[in-house]
């Protein structure tokens, strides 16, 4: 009884609309992702030509402030720059818009990946990595469907592996691979770390969430 014509027109009506408030209808941004021509509509955000803070000069002047980072759900690795450092905690903002927070090399939060890791408290993980193996615990916070916090506790086992050659993009290094297997009542994941002789984590692959899966970071 509700004709297809009515349904289509109502959907179009829901999509459109413009104003001077600076607020973009999120539907338009979604539509622009499917229909490139919509990018020309006023108010539809276009992808920035170059992310601020990522010019070749800026990278060359301060290469330590940059890493390579890859959100598994977002595709290829991109550069990320350090936007905050509080003691051992560093926040990295990727060129494609997501951020990841590491505390002493262990990822404790992400943003912009969809199902993000809201916060994490790793206990004994870094110590076990330094000791060449051992056990630890993790507590992860996620946001549920009703904006509630879902907390998951993991028991983790860290084991050392072989020394491998790791390509860091601009250099190649030897590093020992460590595997961290974490289990909760319902979920299991496996992180990997490549650590050089000085104890620095050169590259790692760390679990975010079931939907966003893993984030890989790599020193330049």
């Amino acid at each position: 009884m509700i004709s297809a014509r009515h349904a289509l027109l109502v959907a179009i009506v829901a999509l459109a609309g413009c104003n001077n408030s600076g607020q973009t209808n999120p539907l338009l941004n979604v539509a622009a992702g499917f229909v490139p021509a919509l990018g020309a509509i006023p108010g539809v955000a276009e992808a920035p030509a170059a992310s601020p803070g990522f010019s070749p000069d800026q990278i060359a002047a301060n290469p330590d402030n940059y890493i390579l980072i890859q959100g598994q759900v977002l595709g290829d690795p991109v550069l990320a720059r350090r936007i905050a450092q509080n003691g051992l905690q560093e926040t990295w903002l990727a060129q494609n818009g997501f951020s990841a927070v590491y505390r002493d090399g262990i990822m404790v939060a992400t943003r912009g990946l969809g199902e993000d890791l809201i916060a994490a408290t790793p206990s004994g993980i870094r110590a076990a990595l330094r000791a060449g193996g051992g056990t630890g615990q993790r507590v992860h916070d996620y946001i549920g469907d009703q904006n509630e916090i879902i907390q998951i506790a993991f028991e983790c086992t860290i084991t050392g592996g072989e020394i491998e050659s790791v390509n860091l993009g601009l250099r190649e290094e030897s590093a020992r691979k460590y595997a961290e297997i974490c289990r909760s009542q319902r979920l299991q994941f496996e992180n990997a770390y490549w650590i050089d002789a000085s104890g620095e984590i050169l590259t790692s692959l760390q679990f975010v969430s079931q939907a966003s899966v893993y984030v890989r970071r790599s020193e330049l």
Binding site: N19, P26, A109, A120, N147, Q188, L205, Q210
Partner: protein
């Protein structure tokens, strides 16, 4: 590098679900009937989907077409709204007109009395089409048992239409002999609960079996106790058998396609789409990363003051304003001391005020001098400060990325009424004039033989903020496509305050729909006020005043509204008709802890009638709302007209639920019975309770999980 990265990702990625969440057999494999209710083909069963599930069913067979929406209100209670047509049909006592399709709304309620156990079946009791002219009117009690993973059996006892095949003397007659007789239905103007029919008259058994042959195919066979008596009398259907056979195909979870051979004479097709507001399609959302919290070192934290010659308050206000604007927060005022900061801002981006508070707190930690230890954030709405959330900067620094940090912050934030304006330094607004053009679609449903019609056009709106809480606004609308014409206006002895509403759309097309001056205020502690003057809605103009008492930390609020309005000319110019009325209500609001919200309004309505409106909503913390209301006034059903009294269903759908990006936008609609004059309220923009509640304790708590988002 990408090759290496991909190799690493694929070689090491391992995420395994060790066990699935448990759910009882009675909640699994729920499919829907041609009536849109959980069950077999025509007959209901006692199974129920997960709490919150919404099922839209479209079906047809023989003379019937039905559209139904079923909402699983709680784990046990479900409600179904149905709008259907029957070709060439007329109710008993009326004469059918060939070529005339009978359209009718119907409403069901069902309650699961017992859950299924290892041996015991689940048991449900239900009322079908109990609130109307009763074409489908019937009652039932039904039991369903699932055997293993694939077989489910149902047996039930029906009354009314559900006892029109194979009926026998009502066993309830053993309790009261009067139950053996079902009185003739006198539905009057319709729309009323026909309680004198319930479980009376003959009863009949019904039942059936479902066999889930595969995950995608469920075969069904049932014995239907619906004899389609009236339809048979009219020659619309010729049931040769009470047996129905069908199959439901589930191509993917949430989509059910059913084909059936019914009553030995009819081929039926139906489709059901389900979704559940409890299940967010985009977990967490794609909100942009927030500003990281800046942690002060011990020396900085020990500072007791800051040098305003080095960093002026004006500079800080500018930095705060710019940073907050990037987060969709409009800064209005700031108060800074050596150790404290207070900011007033309006959230224009985030569904939950808790997330806006978190974003603002992060920015303040990033910008404000280290000596400032206490932050007080005052979220605003309509230019007035609603509440004050006071937090320690040390806590913000400590709990940003710590598991449990969200609840730690919730425990430590002190929520109170907003402070006074004393001490605040105001920020010059970037923008005071706003405009927008948007297309509109106005659907008109349930309108006789044209059940769905619509106008399409453009809506132009503009507003000018004289002060943040004093706004001049207006809107005009022009339709370009209209597939309805001015219909007959139903006769009534009541003033035509709503009956002639379509004349405003048609004769007033292109006219001024609203033009008003609104003032919002804080006359005292926990008090909020509104005064709106002008052309308040298409049909009425005048003055509307409102006062709300709503303590920040309570689940309840009370308010009063008093309006003096006159009916506008149909051309939506500046003129008025002769009718004017003093109307208003006293209102009580209560936010129950279990996801339900209630509101009662008592007072005088637009037609001068006195009465009360009761509204109940199921509110989901992610912004979905489904509810209903009814209004009883001193207008008797005959005077009110078709439907007997005003009632309706309403739904609010948050945009961010579907797109994942943060947004405060939502789509709301109210599905009412025919628009009549009794129980009609003024439509005025900016009613206070909905304006302020998002920044008060209950709503903040509901969204607090997004504080650090």
């Amino acid at each position: 590098m990408s090759v290496l990265a991909n190799r690493l990702l694929t070689s090491v990625s391992l995420v395994a679900c060790i066990s699935a969440s448990a759910s009882s057999a009675q909640d699994q494999g729920v499919t829907y009937t041609f009536f849109g209710t959980p069950g077999l083909l025509e007959m209901p069963s006692a199974v129920a989907p997960a709490e919150g599930e919404i099922a839209a069913t479209f079906s047809g067979y023989g003379p019937y077409q039905r559209n139904a929406f079923t909402f699983q209100v709680t784990q046990r209670l479900s409600a179904t709204f149905r709008y259907g047509s029957t070709e060439d049909y007329a109710l008993p006592g009326f004469t059918a007109t060939p070529g005339f399709d009978y359209y009718d709304r119907s409403f069901d309620l069902r309650y699961r009395l017992l859950d299924e156990g290892d041996w015991a079946p689940s048991v449900a009791i239900g009322l079908q089409d109990f609130l109307g002219t009763g074409q489908y009117g019937g009652e039932y009690i039904v039991a369903t048992k699932t055997f293993g993973d694939a077989i489910r059996a149902t047996v039930g006892l029906g009354w009314g239409r559900l006892a029109s095949e194979g009926g026998f003397t009502n066993p309830l007659g053993l309790i009261d002999a009067s139950l053996e007789t079902r009185p003739t239905l006198d539905f009057g103007q319709g729309g009323q609960v026909e309680a004198d029919q319930f479980f009376r008259g003959d009863a009949a058994l019904f039942g059936g079996v479902e066999w889930a042959a595969t995950d995608a195919l469920t075969f069904k066979a049932e014995y239907s106790s619906d004899g389609h008596v009236r339809e048979s009398e009219l020659g619309l259907i010729d049931p040769a058998s009470p047996l129905n056979f069908g199959v439901t195909y589930t191509p993917r979870p949430g989509i059910y396609l059913t084909a059936a051979y019914l009553h030995g004479s009819e081929l039926g097709l139906g489709g059901t789409i389900t979704f559940n507001p409890n299940d967010r399609p985009i977990d967490g959302g794609f909100d942009s990363p927030p500003v990281p919290v800046v942690v002060r070192d011990a020396n900085a934290r020990a500072a007791q003051s800051w040098d305003r010659n080095v960093l002026s308050e004006q500079t800080l206000r500018g930095q705060l304003s710019a940073a907050m604007a990037r987060e969709g927060l409009t800064l209005t005022a700031v108060e800074l001391t050596d150790r404290t900061a207070r900011v007033r801002f309006t959230n224009t981006r985030y569904r939950t005020e808790a997330q806006a508070l978190g974003r603002a707190a992060r920015i303040m930690s990033d910008i404000l001098p280290p000596s400032i230890e206490t932050f007080t954030l005052e979220p605003m709405a309509r230019g007035i400060a609603v509440s004050a959330a006071t937090m320690r900067r040390t806590d913000i620094e400590r709990y940003e990325t710590v598991a449990g940090g969200t609840s730690m912050m919730q425990e430590r934030v002190v929520l109170s009424d907003a402070g006074t304006s004393a001490g605040l330094q105001y920020v010059e607004p970037d923008q005071t004039f706003f405009w927008g053009i948007s297309p509109f679609a106005q659907l008109t449903v349930f309108n006789g033989d044209n059940p769905v019609s619509a106008d399409y056009g453009l809506n132009l709106s503009a507003s000018y903020e004289i002060q943040p809480n004093l706004v001049l606004s207006g809107s005009v609308r022009k339709s370009f496509v209209r597939d309805r014409e001015l219909g007959d206006i139903s006769p009534s002895t009541l003033p035509a305050v709503r009956r002639e509403g379509q004349r405003y759309d048609i004769e007033g097309d292109g006219g001024i729909r609203t033009l008003q001056l609104s003032h919002f205020g804080r006359p005292g502690a926990n008090l909020y006020s509104r005064v709106t003057v002008g052309y308040l809605e298409p049909a009425f103009g005048g003055i509307s005043t409102e006062l709300l008492y709503s303590p920040v930390n309570t689940a309840w609020a009370v308010g009063g509204e008093l309006n003096y309005v006159a009916q506008r000319d149909f051309d939506l110019g500046f003129g008025f008709q002769d009718y004017d009325v003093l109307t208003g209500h006293a209102s009580v609001y209560y936010d129950f802890d279990n996801g339900f919200h209630g509101q009662v309004d008592v007072g005088r309505y637009l037609a001068g009638d006195w009465g009360a409106t009761v509204t109940i909503d199921r509110e989901f913390d992610n912004g979905w709302r489904l509810g209903g209301y009814f209004t009883i006034t001193d207008v008797d059903p005959e005077e009110f007209g078709e439907g007997s009294f005003d009632k309706g269903l309403r739904i609010t759908v948050p945009l961010d639920y579907f797109v994942g990006s943060p947004s405060t936008q939502e789509f709301s609609n109210t599905l009412t019975s025919l628009t009549r004059d009794g129980g009609a309220r003024l439509n005025v923009d900016g009613r206070l309770y909905e304006t302020v509640r998002d920044a008060q304790a209950n709503e903040l708590a509901d969204g607090w999980g997004r504080f650090w988002r």
